[in-house]
């Protein structure tokens, strides 16, 4: 084998005495997809942020093409031909797609002024080449999360010359968009790029990986050919234990209809959406991103009440004009956008858990803090939420722990109809299994769950029935047992 294209050796990094990476090495060859796996907090993102100059390493070295590479900041990385698609979207909302793609390296005219025309043309070329249905002059703030992700990808592609890092790029993408991304990856690989791909999805790993590196607790526990390790082996290395069955078997739901939606509609978002949710049932919502699933959940939850149609709760029509009303009626909404409308980043876990149900622990306007602490402690223990101290702001916890705390918020509120929007997005495997067990427990106790998911195996494994939405319409509902991914996709696409 020739020289590696890029070599990171003995890289260590600590944050305030907390060792996140200890002497990790990673070698990338041209023409390869190197999948980096590990649970949340294992150090994957940190390692990649060091490579991209977002963080500086404490020790170790990075060599590119056989010579030392000093990365003082993102600019150096970019000049060296290394670019990255970040997990959290970092786009300037008030700028256009083209301006975002060329941010920091705007084309200029011969007299030194910005050349907006060339910029727009070149950006549109990048978008068109990869069949992204976007216009370069659109303001990014008007895009959906999935569309923004496409912009992120386009931005990285516009500059990636030697190494491209993707941190869970498909987390918010639809099936079709993901397929397009995989095609792009194959193309780049053929061109000789080295691609680092971070993902929690085993299916993607098996499909894409040439080589695999597994991190656990800041250390490299495996690195080698993808063919040399199987799924069980990867999981064992990642988690440090065996997980036999990811999806627990679900108890049968009762015939009692808890929630019925009749011909719900909201502007151009969705129309004519009707479904029933039974007691003890998990109803999966499949569809492409932008099919209107999240909008329906927002409608039911009272965030943006539907403009037409009827919602029946236990047979009685209800109309929630605010989330406060729907929460009081027993609803809870786990958002797909943890940072946007999920966590209260400055507040500790406890206060994040109790926030939706302060009335249940207060006397008039006065809170009972001991009551709160006791009930939250139980939930923290039950859901295995790990925080270094009870006063630590939730914004500093890992995504998986944040997600569990947000779930705990609705358990604290005693919600019995949960609207879960991408409940395991960006969550590591161990936590995923925990969330599935919790969902099982909720329905076994008589709760009902409406689960929106873009993860087809999850939909098939964790739903009783699957409703499929396509372009704002609910096209069909099918039993999950016996359904295949292809069947679901045929209706969704």
């Amino acid at each position: 084998m020739p020289e590696p294209l890029l070599e990171m050796t003995g890289v260590s990094k600590s944050f305030g005495g907390n060792c996140v990476l200890s002497s990790v090495s990673l070698a990338l060859w041209p023409h390869e997809v190197h999948v980096l796996v590990g649970e949340n907090g294992a150090g994957k993102s940190t390692l990649m942020k060091i490579l991209n100059g977002v963080y500086t390493k404490d020790s170790g070295e990075v060599r590119l093409g056989g010579s030392d590479l000093a990365i003082g900041g993102p600019y150096d990385a970019r000049r060296a031909g290394i670019s990255m698609i970040f997990q959290e979207q970092i786009l300037a909302n008030d700028l256009t797609i083209a301006q975002n793609i060329f941010l920091g390296q705007e084309p200029t005219t011969s007299s030194g002024f910005l050349d907006n025309k060339t910029q727009n043309v070149r950006a549109q070329e990048v978008l068109d080449r990869h069949h992204f249905p976007l216009k370069a002059t659109t303001r990014v703030g008007t895009l959906t999360r999935a569309q923004k992700q496409l912009v992120e990808i386009a931005r990285a592609l516009a500059t990636a010359a030697r190494v491209l890092v993707m941190d869970e790029p498909t987390a918010v993408l639809s099936h079709k968009e993901s397929e397009e991304l995989f095609r792009i990856i194959a193309e780049l690989k053929a061109k000789g790029l080295a691609i680092v791909y971070i993902s929690h999805r085993m299916e993607e790993l098996e499909r894409l990986a040439d080589r695999v590196t597994i991190l656990r607790d800041g250390k490299c526990v495996f690195t080698g050919e993808a063919s040399a390790i199987d799924r069980a082996g990867i999981i064992r290395h990642m988690v440090g234990r065996d997980i036999h069955e990811l999806y627990p078997s679900l108890p049968e739901p009762s015939a009692e209809v808890v929630l019925a939606a009749e011909r719900l509609a909201y502007g151009s978002e969705y129309r004519d959406v009707s479904f029933e949710l039974h007691r003890g049932e998990i109803l999966g919502f499949a569809g492409l991103v932008g099919a209107g699933r999240t909008a329906v959940a927002h409608g039911i939850f009272g965030l943006h009440p539907p403009q037409a149609g009827m919602i029946l709760l236990h047979g009685k029509p209800v109309r929630f004009r605010s989330t406060g009303e729907s929460i009081a009626a027993g609803f809870g909404y786990l958002t797909e956008d943890r940072k946007g409308n999920g966590i209260l980043p400055d507040l500790p876990v406890t206060e994040n858990i109790s926030i939706a149900a302060l009335d249940s622990m207060s006397n008039g306007p006065v809170l009972s803090l001991p009551d709160e602490a006791r009930r939250c402690r139980e939930l923290v223990k039950k859901l295995n939420i790990k925080a270094k101290s009870s006063a630590m702001p939730i914004g500093r916890l890992s995504g998986g722990n944040q997600q569990k705390a947000l779930l705990a918020r609705w358990l604290f509120a005693g919600s019995n109809i949960l609207l879960l929007d991408e409940p395991t997005q960006g969550v590591d495997l161990g936590t995923r299994a925990e969330i599935y067990l919790l969902m099982r427990e909720i329905v076994a106790a008589g709760g009902s769950i409406l689960m929106i998911s873009s993860d087809l195996p999850e939909l098939l494994g964790m739903s009783h029935r699957i409703a499929v939405m396509r372009r704002g319409e609910l096209v069909t509902t099918m039993p999950a047992a016996g359904a295949t991914q292809e069947q679901v996709m045929r209706h969704a696409a």
């Binding site: 944050f15 305030g16 005495g17 939850f301 965030l303 605010s322 989330t323 406060g324 009303e325 729907s326 929460i327 009081a328 909404y333 958002t335 946007g340 409308n341 999920g342 966590i343 209260l344 980043p345 400055d346 507040l347 206060e351 926030i355 939706a356 302060l358 009335d359 207060s362 306007p365 006065v366 809170l367 803090l369 006063a391 500093r396 918020r409």
Partner: protein
Amino acid sequence: MRDLLKKFLPFATLIALFVGLAIASPYFLTVGNLSAVIRQTTVITIMAIGMTVVMVAGGIDLSVGSMVGLTGVCGTMLIAAHYPTWIALLGAILAGAVCGLANGAGVVGLKIPPFIATLGTMGIFRGLVLLITGGIPVADLTHNFGVLANGNVLGVIPVPLIFLIAVGILIYLVLKFTKLGRYSYAIGSNIEAARCSGIRIGLYTILIYALNGALTGLSGMIESARLVTGQPTAGDGYELRVIAAVVIGGGSLNGGQGTVVGTVIGALIMGLLSNGCNLLGISPFLQQIIIGAVIVLAVSFDELQRRRMA
């Protein structure tokens, strides 16, 4: 460990400042000087406590300086009309609450960013008080309501200190033990998440601004008692000193952060700095530079901490 450092740095700074001044100037530790410091800083401190709640909730109120003038004039006009002092005090507090309601309504109802909404009312309130008075101070007040600012309890404890302690304890309890307090942190930390948690954002935002207005009204009355006149121009520029006190005490313009204790320490640091400069004969021009530098240092230290922990 870092959290602890962050928590205690403002406090340590205050202590160091206190000890330093005690050593540097023989006049510093006299009853006369300390009570003067308290009388001078109480108004800003009480206002800053109100502003803390607003800033915790992610808002800001630039109109508080103008409110001091308006509420002070309202109060002194009641004094001039021979109402008892406590009625005048309530009148000023009520006038402040109404101003605060107007701010809250602007932010919530018209959906204007608080910076802009209160920039507008800052002009409106100041114009209003000048219009009411014709620019002439409410003077020749027979009442001895000056006791609100210049009086002593038990011979040595300045009356405004009693107000300050009462307000401090009240708002500390509100922030820590009431829904209003918890919701303030929630709204300031992530308003969309707060909305999805069923919090009535509009109602609480208006309450928060009204509370801030009421406390500013109290300060306005103390300020006019200090001057024993209703000055329509009173409080000019106070908004910036108030915001500075909150920020030095750990509050953030981004919301979600800030405590009563921190703010009081922040206000005291500013008060001691200017007192120390006076005692040591440092030019008032240099004073402004020193205080400006302290604000920048305090905030940059805070940012540095946050980045390191990210």
